[in-house]
Symmetry: C2
DNA sequence: CCATCATGTCTACGAGTGTAGACAATGCAG
DNA sequence: CTGCATTGTCTACACTCGTAGACATGATGG
């Protein structure tokens, strides 16, 4: 769809936005190393060099993509109560299969092989979702537990969305949500006996 | 170390083994796309073409690497009892930092961006560790829960070993093991109330 | 000893990579 | 209408990639 593109009236901010959008799609689908600058440029209807003139380099473009992809607060719920159940439901529910392919977790997993990309994503995580998730938790070791929750979510995206493991892809959504919520509850709820130490 | 290599006496099986070993190292460190055939060959002391003559192609070489890397039963414990605690301990304990860089989870995470590699790894998982872990579990949805456990382990490897999230890398190992074991227990133990439905 | 097959290397190709520098076209100010 | 800065393109470079075919070298059977 949208194979031919009319030249688009000259507009710097609109062009920048178009490049950034196609970059989000390309990096999320193919990863940092798998997506080419020419590919990103073509999908935006421009030339490869214009991408570098707007963003400096592929690496800086990726940094902006990561920032945009991790920024929206939709990733994690808002209310502290019942965080586990809400995450579990949102994780197994495949409502919009199109927007699903733009998940920041897919972006992270498919770009993890590149060390530079990993460093960029680490910064973005501790800047955005890390602190936001930590604030939702009570008790001890909130940062540690928040990152464990992120680890579990990432792992589900890996096994279910990328490796496409048989039992997870063809699983009964209700049961899957249940098991997942159980594991998340163990991480989000205040420890059963915080008495120790 | 071992910069210069004496030509090695001609031995087909020994050469094949040397190539396979260096391929495991290269693919685990850089991922399927990040590791080059010339790089694997050089580390084994041979030429790039010899790799293709022994394994057919880079893809088939990767398939053998995945098979070897996922085969050892060390990945998961042996006794059904206390699976959660044993996995958690083995996951946070960094005993041998050299052998740690050969983890099949690192291989999987860093090769996940390539769809062909993902398909190869899916086959290897359902052939090796999937069934083995499933047999350790009791109750309902064992396959589903086994893959969720794999997801959590993968996610911890991602966040702790690749992204190097601050709170997980500098975490108190004891507390981390505790939280992790809690989440794993929620997945490995038979549901608290299997009465529902 | 020497012929012969297995083992290993060399050269090369076609395609793709990120990006630097020079050039062209557009749209707005005067 | 005309100058001119902004916006965009073209060509090119120096690599790296996987792999195909022809060639060289080693060890071993007779």
């Amino acid at each position: 769809m949208m194979v031919t593109q009319q030249p688009r009236r000259r507009d710097a901010t609109a062009t920048r936005e178009a490049i950034l959008n196609s970059a989000v799609e390309a990096f999320t689908r193919a990863g940092y190393d798998g997506a080419g600058v020419r590919e990103v440029a073509a999908a935006a209807g421009v030339t490869a060099m214009l991408v570098n003139r707007y963003f400096g380099s592929k690496e800086q473009l990726f940094a902006e993509v990561v920032d945009r992809s991790f920024a929206p607060p939709t990733i994690v719920g808002s209310q502290p109560a019942a965080v586990a159940a809400r995450i579990a439901e949102a994780l197994v529910a495949r409502t919009d299969p199109a927007a699903e392919q733009l998940s920041p977790f897919l972006l992270m997993l498919r770009s993890a092989s590149n060390p530079r990309a990993a460093a960029i994503m680490r910064d973005a995580i501790s800047r955005h979702v890390g602190t936001r998730l930590t604030d939702l938790l009570d008790g001890a070791d909130t940062e540690q537990r928040a990152e464990l929750i992120l680890a579990l979510i990432s792992g589900v995206w890996l096994m279910r969305g990328i490796i496409a493991t048989p039992a997870l892809t063809s699983a009964d959504p209700a049961r899957l949500t249940e098991h997942l919520a159980g594991a998340l509850r163990a991480l989000s709820d205040t420890g059963p006996t915080p008495a120790s130490s």
